[in-house]
Symmetry: C2
Subunit: 441 residues, 2 copies
């Protein structure tokens, strides 16, 4: 590695440039390359686990993770082992996990009160209408192992399920060459995971979706994973529920120039350090401020342990964009629909109403994205790649479902029966009309 590698030079764009739209589109472009070889292998693994169950899962775990076991039962982590992992942590880590969990729990409990509970009303005919909200019976949480083993993701997936009232939360986490991450195990203990297995990849997704002799079939699978996991989740969708398929992580910062440039530079770094494909974009109407942030990037980069990843991410996918105004910056943010959107301004509440599409909106200079990632309370599993245009953060609602409730009164059946008969006959559905007619008179 030479010092050349350690220059992080995001593209410098200006919204006044006639080519701006095309240049921005080129920067934003990302698509999950459909890899036919991965697709085929995943389909084979899914079919094999469906047919051979435990034995197939054991075979793939030996082959891909280098973990040999006589039975899948031997790969189940016992509650005592999770508790022991927690107890063995330094006190600072135990406290941090518990405080983060408490804040996440509080937010999602509040969220459950916003429409996550059964509600009904009665109309003027005495007919009752409403929605019954119930938790899922059993869900699977996929937790990546290896280099991207994030205990915070255990909290962010399991706690909303727990708050929703899910009966059983089954965690799977691969342990390549048998290496268990103590923080992941401790987080599972804190978050209320019911059972945990040290399996991963498409074989773990298949085990959860179809069930095996040892791994119980779940109703929904959430959590991030590599290309095999993402492909497997997409294939089992319909058989079970899934959360979103995530792309690379992104941050977009709107800055009016009032936040110390070091703070914003570090926020851009904290996105970029995830992954070379991660995207960090800064928008500001203040060109001198963009210069100052670039200077901060140059100064701070060498001290970063992940400097090489940060440099590649910022240089290949990052951008510092000069806009005509904060208003225009908000409009551009809406076009991008970023996963994380920081409003680094003295007047964040002035700009917030202009923002329509984002996974999470971080308001004011003190609200660094990293506080939201770990412990502010709201979920850190957010829609990426512009899907915030139509989707939402992972939530307590993902672990509940609604059933409509309808109790038509005798009086109501008279009135509704006439409407239904006319419309059913119009659709050529005579039995529908007749079922309504029988209740009339």
């Amino acid at each position: 590695m030479t010092s050349i590698d350690l220059r992080a030079t995001p593209a410098r764009l200006s919204s006044a440039d006639g080519q701006f739209d095309a240049k921005l589109a080129a920067r934003l472009h990302w698509s999950a390359a459909q890899d036919d070889a991965i697709e085929q292998r995943v389909q084979d693994i899914l079919a094999d686990v469906r047919a051979r169950g435990d034995v197939a899962v054991l075979d793939y775990t030996a082959r891909f993770d280098g973990v040999q076991a006589e039975s899948l039962t031997a790969l189940e982590l016992q509650a005592g082992e999770l508790a022991a992992a927690f107890d063995a942590l330094p006190a600072a880590q135990r406290d941090a996990l518990q405080q983060a969990a408490a804040r996440i729990r509080r937010y999602h409990a509040w969220q459950k009160q916003q429409g996550g509970e059964t509600a009904t009303y009665v109309d003027e005919d005495g007919t009752l209408l409403g929605q019954k909200v119930t938790p899922l019976d059993r869900v699977g949480i996929y937790v990546p192992g290896g280099k991207a083993a994030y205990p915070s993701s255990v909290l962010m997936n399991a706690i909303p399920a727990h708050v929703a009232g899910v009966g059983e939360i089954i965690m799977v986490v691969p342990t390549p060459r048998g290496a268990k991450n103590p923080l992941v195990l401790a987080a599972a203990h804190v978050a209320g995971v019911t059972r945990a297995f040290t399996i991963g990849g498409a074989q773990a997704v298949a085990a959860l979706a179809y069930g095996t002799a040892t791994v119980p079939k779940v109703d929904k699978i959430t959590g991030p994973g590599n290309a095999y996991v993402a492909s497997a989740k997409k294939h089992v969708f319909g058989q079970v529920g899934i959360d979103m398929i995530a792309g690379p992580s992104e941050i977009l910062v709107l800055a009016d120039g009032s936040t110390p440039p070091d703070w914003v530079a570090m926020d851009l770094f904290s996105q970029a350090e995830h992954d070379e494909l991660a995207q960090s974009i800064l928008l500001s109407p203040d060109a001198a401020y963009l210069d100052a942030v670039q200077a901060a990037i140059n100064r701070l980069l060498p001290s970063m342990p992940r400097a090489e990843i940060i440099a590649k991410s910022l240089t290949n996918r990052g951008a510092l964009i000069h806009t005509r105004s904060m208003q225009e910056a908000c409009e551009i943010a809406n076009r991008i629909a970023p996963e994380h959107l920081e409003v680094s301004s003295r007047e964040p509440q002035r700009w917030e109403p202009l923002l329509k599409h984002a996974g999470a909106i971080f308001l004011g200079a003190y609200t660094s994205e990293s506080l939201g990632d770990y412990c502010a309370g709201p979920n850190h599993v957010l829609p990426t790649s512009g899907t915030a245009r139509f989707s939402s953060p992972l939530s307590v609602y993902d672990f509940q479902k609604r059933s409509s409730l309808i109790a038509v009164s005798q009086a109501g059946a008279q009135k509704l029966g006439h409407i239904a008969q006319v419309l059913a006959e119009g659709e050529g559905l005579h039995a529908h009309a007749e079922a309504a007619r029988l209740r009339v008179g």
Copy 2:
């Protein structure tokens, strides 16, 4: 057609039978046969529309629907044409459409108040947390043409979008050989559709998902369709949002014997008349009642215009199941997780708390499913094939999305900063820790 064809004989099962579970499972079994030929043709159509836009859509519309047009603009239905279709209806149909629309609108407006609005709270450090709820900008509604052209589906898809505040609602509806369904056009007028095109199939899904010169790109596509449409929606999922992929329609009736057998027989018919694959199941602890319903089926079937479809559906997929008790019937209903669940009992409120999994629950003898299909108010787009275990009726929420709101106070940043630093360092994400640390002190 001989009279033999007109016997509808649902399987007669008993939960006391040692083979009951296997027999029930065999009846319930249904899976969307993956048809590789359809998959390949759909992928070709999607790629072609993406590449050639309007011209490709026109080509497929000529080939599949027998509709020739010089431009896609010529296939747009003007607002005046929708209004004229409404005005030309008999008064009874106009009234029925408007009354149904008003009830559906009222239910979904009530639903929007249950968590479908922005909400926040402030914690003891002055940190604001919450969720901002916003409508989607533009959605596409797929409406089938031909034999299953249902104006009620226009209402059920477009009204929740309209209530959510969606900016533009784009309807597509194929018109095979140019035949327009006046009720579908009138429903579009009543429901607040913004623009409508007479195109269908995978080519219409592609036009909505990718956009063409004439058809605007949407953020989400909802609505039922044939195997080509279902496959196309599954392929574009991720690029845009979609609602569920529906299987055959189902009804399950729990009966304590207090409802006139004719009423229940007609409810079973009204499901069966949709489709030979539709499923109608009756559960009762009263064997004599099951006999009475079978007798009603025999007596009522010949007068049904769709008798042949009903007979095939009931004979091949229907079941009358004798249970030990109403409690057991509720347990079996939970295992099946039906789309429509009627509780035809004198004490529906006694059994409702025992029911966990269903798309919609119809309580009491007066609540025929057909009233819910057209005009009770709740949505008639419901999860099928057991997916009520993890999914919900179409709703106003499907046309909104949430963005988390986080505004950390200076005091909050001190407390949260310490937690985030510990956890970020534990995950090896130094820039995350540093971004938090900069806000401390």
